[in-house]
Symmetry: D2
């Protein structure tokens, strides 16, 4: 079994044992990702770029991945496929010759 | 090569071709995850739980995964490992007999 | 003194007594708003639209206002002025005849 | 009329002319605050703390205030009152002698 299938299987098992599928609609999963993203962000608040607590970053990042995988599963997206597809699109929006060394958004390049 | 190693390799290639590592410190990657999470959330705004545009969800979710994988790479976290570890911790915080069918937070169970 | 000047005065007094101005740069204030917005959002997670705890909503919303007022102060924005200005702009983006009863974004109207 | 009553009156007029009250339940207003907070955050992404575009900050911050005022109105909170109340609570969580010059969270002081 592929790695991400294993992750999703473990997440669904955890969810189903608790009978939580009823709460996990796409909108609330998107909310959950935002809630966890905010908790990750808090670890960097008032701090320099690399001063966050590594163990806590690990936990919050794991939470983001967990809900992101569950949302992907809802729509039957293959995570590797959609990320590689997005890289391809971004390569068009950010051609190397224009974007190299620049932090500008594509519509400002 | 494992699936998630392939994803990360593709992301770093894209990043390095554009000389963007200089911008990708952990704090700004955490910011980027929040920005993308907000864009995902917008797709559900004022809507019922399953009315978001599937193609757009795919794109925004891919962006979240992309930055989340890059942040994981910064700290050398293995994504499968940290998610499975978090499931284990959550299983302790949310024992089946208490959490079944309940949307309450662990400290309210 | 106007209401919002009073709010800002109280916030700056609190901040200065603790010597926190050094942390309150615009970027971190924007982060703080996101962190607090995430905490507000959590109160609605897995719930129906009006099931959040009112007392907790009050606290999280107060936190959002606090950081938003402090960010406004950094740029010397008058809150009433910028909100009324934004309403005017939005009235152009969302003309009544097109937008009435519709939750669509202006670029989809 | 007090300043914040005027702001809320203008927001409700704008909303009612478009018949949007039907969409503005508390949960979606909390979502909207998060969406706008993410747009504010994007202005600081990959940038130094004070390099955001001031005009754009003004607009995004105005959006955050707009939805925050509308959520306050839903619960009939007086904004000045809830912010001053929160300052009082925070003064207990962050006593000057402990918190002075420190960016730590209250539970780590």
């Amino acid at each position: 079994m592929k790695e991400n299938e294993e992750i999703i299987e473990a997440l669904l098992k955890f969810r189903n044992e608790r009978d939580w599928e009823q709460f996990h609609n796409p909108k609330d999963l998107a909310l959950a990702i935002n809630v966890e993203a905010g908790e990750l962000l808090e670890l960097f608040l008032w701090k320099n770029a690399d001063e966050a607590n590594k163990e806590k970053v690990k936990e919050e990042l794991a939470d983001i991945f967990a809900f992101a995988f569950m949302l992907a599963e809802k729509y039957q997206f293959d995570v590797k496929e959609i990320v590689l597809e997005k890289i391809k699109r971004n390569a068009e929006k950010y051609p190397v010759e224009k974007a190299k060394g620049s932090a500008k958004k594509y519509n400002e390049l």
